[in-house]
């Protein structure tokens, strides 16, 4: 399973497109900055418009980086889940990790109107968003812990999938109860969070997000040989010397880190995790994870950057929520690819 020359060419092509989209993403927005000036600001610190430099440095560069990280993390997480469960409908949310993160955020935001949290959010500003992040991480890891605990007792990956869905369902129900008893203001704030946003992840937050995503992606890349074996089903994988339980822990932890971190910082971004692996398989025409993992990173990052560019096009001050755009743009793309390809047999 060595990467074929055409695979390498496609990867290079995607990388080029990704760079282009990255620059374009820095250029568009409420204040339009010409591409040539974007170059200036990025590569020579002097002689540029101070406002533009500020916008790029403090707002758009972090946002574009977040888009790349989120695209990579969610796509690779989705790919791992689809292969582990041999199910084309699986995505990083199936294990209930996203739901767990949402519960954590709901706990912080709604908290029954708890004075302490409200005080923290209002008075500390930035620290308030940290609180949300911490809540989200605690929620994600709580569910992950449960999944791992249960997975040790199970032989069968399909059972794991169903248990993940059940955990997800329980977590969503608890969140709903919380919403039901909260006042409308807080519920609105929570709802806004669920739309997802690539903005506002800067400085230390961006650093932490990058570190977690890189760790998750490295683990995923290390598991690529195991994922290849799992394509044949658990029995064959075991007969080829794979320790299923060990592989499952590695894959679940990696996906949890990726999906949990992105949900914590950006909110629950849907669609990317389920669609990008399919788009990548169709485009690269391979099942080897040594190619699919890097290819998914590029495709996912490209898709999210593209969606972010589109969301800026109305020219308004805020732009549309990213979750809306990923579905509105991504779904027709997937339908189009499927109609051209006619068949899809990932497993």
């Amino acid at each position: 399973m060595t990467p074929s020359p055409s695979g390498k060419m496609r990867l290079t092509g995607l990388l080029f497109l990704l760079l282009l989209a990255f620059l374009l993403d820095l250029s568009v927005g409420p204040v339009k900055i010409p591409l040539s000036d974007v170059f200036h600001i990025l590569f020579s610190s002097s002689s540029a418009d101070k406002t533009w430099a500020f916008i790029i440095d403090k707002i758009r560069l972090p946002k574009a980086c977040t888009a790349v990280l989120a695209g990579c993390a969610l796509s690779v997480g989705g790919l791992q889940m689809q292969t582990l469960f041999r199910n084309p409908l699986a995505d990083p949310a199936v294990l209930g990790i996203t739901a767990g993160a949402s519960l954590g955020v709901a706990a912080v935001m709604l908290a029954g109107g708890g004075m302490a949290t409200l005080f923290a959010i209002k008075e500390l500003g930035l620290a308030g968003s940290w609180l949300i992040t911490v809540g989200s991480c605690v929620g994600a890891f709580g569910v992950m812990f449960f999944v791992l605990l249960l997975s040790g007792r199970l032989q069968d990956n399909v059972l794991m999938l169903i248990i993940g869905l059940m955990l997800s369902s329980i977590t969503i129900a608890i969140t709903s109860i919380w919403q039901y008893f909260s006042n409308p203001e807080e519920v609105k704030e929570y709802l806004l969070w669920t739309f997802g946003s690539l903005q506002g992840v800067t400085g230390l937050q961006l650093l932490i997000l990058s570190i977690v995503v890189v760790i998750g992606l490295t683990m995923a890349f290390f598991s690529s040989k195991m994922l290849d074996a799992l394509l044949l089903g658990e029995n064959y994988a075991r007969s080829m010397g794979l320790t299923i339980a060990r592989a499952r822990v590695l894959i679940v932890v990696s996906t949890s880190l990726l999906a949990g971190a992105i949900t914590a910082f950006c909110g629950p971004i849907g669609f990317v995790g389920i669609a990008v692996p399919h788009m990548t398989r169709i485009l690269f025409n391979t099942a080897s994870h040594r190619i699919l993992i890097p290819a998914c990173c590029l495709m996912g990052a490209l898709l999210l950057l593209f969606c972010d560019i589109v969301s800026q096009l109305p020219g308004s001050q805020t732009g549309l929520p990213i979750n809306v755009i990923t579905s509105l743009i991504g779904a027709p793309m997937v339908i189009g690819l499927l109609l051209r390809k006619k068949t899809l047999n990932p497993f």
Partner: protein, 361 residues
Amino acid sequence: MNTLLHTEGLQTGYRSGGRKVLAPGVLPDLQIKAGQLICLLGPNGSGKSTLLRTLAGLQSPLEGSVMIDGRSRLTPAELARQMSLVLSDRVSGSLTVYSLVSLGRYPYSGWLGRLKEEDLKIIETAMITTGVDGFRDRHLSTLSDGENQKAMLARALAQDTPLLLLDEPTAHLDWPSRIQLMRLLHQLAVETNRGILLSTHELELALQIADEIWLLHPGGEFHRGAPEDLVLNGAFESAFARQDVHFDMHTGTFIIPHSKAKPISLEGEGVPAYWTKRALEREGYRVAAGTAHADDAAAASIEPLTTDDHAGSIGPAGAAPSAHVRVLSGTAGPSWCLINGFGEKEYPSITLLLQALQENN
């Protein structure tokens, strides 16, 4: 011969809700030796799959142990270098045949699955041996069942293990492919000195090709030995016997006995006469003994039976034939002459002959 696998006090079965469900019967201690092709036979529900899965390490034994290379409890990585499997699990998807076969080198490759020169050579050999190198770039989802089965075998061969276990490898294959596959397995056992165990329903093929047969009875009895021994001591018949199925010791096949036999006499020679007789028997006639002479040279291998052998099961003999069929050999091929109460008439094919017989009744 070198023993590759043996069992000690093995009891198979499965656990259900904390309760042990034992497979029926007690197994003797089993051995698979290098260069041996063993067929595991038994009717549905006799515990064939459970035994195979237990030997393969996919399922733990309830009691006793499976020793491979003289040791029990091998780690998955060690086991993968001793035994490769072809399972009945269907594997499909966007994997190419070449990628699938390369996965056979999994136990030998590094953590990223990089293949060395030697690995590539083994993959190539495995693909040529099984005849899948012609469609190496096709995706598994586009393969026919037979091609898929060959590709799975190629993967197992690339794993290059002394033991090879196959779970019903001939299911879903057409007849020529079945024979081809069995011949290939036989050849592999002899030429590469592998120990091969396969479970199958192909009694006739197993009888022809196996060095040893393991026969599981539905009640839990276990027989093993050379195929011929099992035929002669009646083990086959008792394992598969049903009210309406009859095991024919002469051909090693199961036949459907015809209960309402009407007598008919047949005269003719050679292969056409043999097949005419088969057609008449299938239609429920009892062909009068000795009337149809099969030409020894042409039909000796396909006509070892005479009608007397299972006369007991097909009703009282001795009623006078009410009709007579004569097979005529002409230059343009055989034709059939039917002589009965309605007179004498010639037919160009067995189809028309049978139609005429039906109408006359």
